[in-house]
Symmetry: C2
Subunit: 203 residues, 2 copies
């Protein structure tokens, strides 16, 4: 059964906080003995998705919060990054194709690194080309693959599955039907997976 | 110096997640040896505050998340509660008056209990009257006090102070200028207060 003993990691590679999850999920897997299944979806198809206005208190908070949380996890970060990214559908669709072929995670990590460490907007021509080159993939072949019917249909059906589960933001960790929204709830998903309940820091 | 060695607990008593903070902040104080200063503010004056539409994935998630987090903390909860509450300014202004006179926390806890355990909308006539009676306060005196110039001015000046700090949501825990938004980041605020950085669960 696909997904058995796995936590689904629903994400869009255009999400800021998802950077933290992408960078630390492997070490969570090792430490907790669980596996995550990476599942990109079309966040913008699932309702209102207003980026925080530049200069608002909420976006200022987001950058500072990302910075201090990255420091906690020892993840390099160079904020603010170009935001909001314009062509996140492309990054997610490449990820989807790559996850089928076995290089999807490497691509997502490479694209995030270029975005959050080197300031190259994710989904932009330079970021996409360089990220694919870094992981040894031919850009033209991948772009053809992504425009094909199979990936385009999968993109829609995966997004519909996310909608059916009640996913509304990225990252969302799904333990069967139980959803945990936000990188800061990754450990809660692991706790639910192992114990069927949340475990407080005091336990 | 007011606030020295204290964490400011900025809140509106109309916030759902703030229920968890209100119910567990005393035990966090005891366990961590820190003090919180309760500071109600006018959330609606600080920008867009659209309640989640009933029936949306996000509000469904909110109730389930509140329920499982309340279970983790051993806090009684009976969700969903009447939402969004209409007259939260009154509850916050009564809290402000009560915090000056020494019964503000008791009032906030009483009003939240009636809302989240007995389904009485906070700010509604029944909830306000019963909550004040429960804590031994005369409703007519308190309502006169709240309508007076002192509390009305304090309500505005406190809200302006929150705005100046960059507060945009409730609860927000402020360690000097460092903000932590959300009940799920209460422990982060304590960590910052003690260590000047975030400490991960693995540390």
């Amino acid at each position: 059964v696909p997904g058995e003993n796995m936590i689904d990691f629903w994400f869009t590679a255009g999400s800021t906080y998802t950077y933290l999850s992408v960078m630390r999920i492997d070490s969570v897997e090792s430490a907790a003995g669980v596996k995550f299944r990476w599942r990109p979806f079309d966040r913008r198809a699932l309702g209102r998705n207003t980026p925080y206005p530049v200069g608002s208190s909420k976006i200022d908070y987001m950058w500072l919060d990302l910075k201090r949380r990255a420091a906690m996890y020892g993840i390099p970060i160079n904020i603010p990054v170009p935001y909001p990214p314009k062509n996140t559908a492309l990054v997610n669709q490449i990820a989807l194709a790559g996850l089928e072929e076995g290089w999807g995670k490497d691509f997502v990590i490479a694209a995030y690194r270029r975005w959050f460490q080197f300031g190259e907007e994710t989904g932009g021509d330079e970021n996409v080309a360089t990220s694919l080159r870094e992981i040894g993939q031919d850009a033209q072949r991948v772009l053809n693959l992504v425009q094909g019917e199979h990936i385009q249909r999968l993109w829609v059906s995966e997004t519909e599955q996310a909608r059916g589960l009640g996913v509304f933001g990225s990252p969302t960790f799904a333990v069967d039907a139980e959803l945990f929204w936000g990188d800061d709830h990754l450990e809660d998903a692991v706790s639910w997976h192992k114990h069927g309940r949340l475990v407080s820091a005091q336990d």
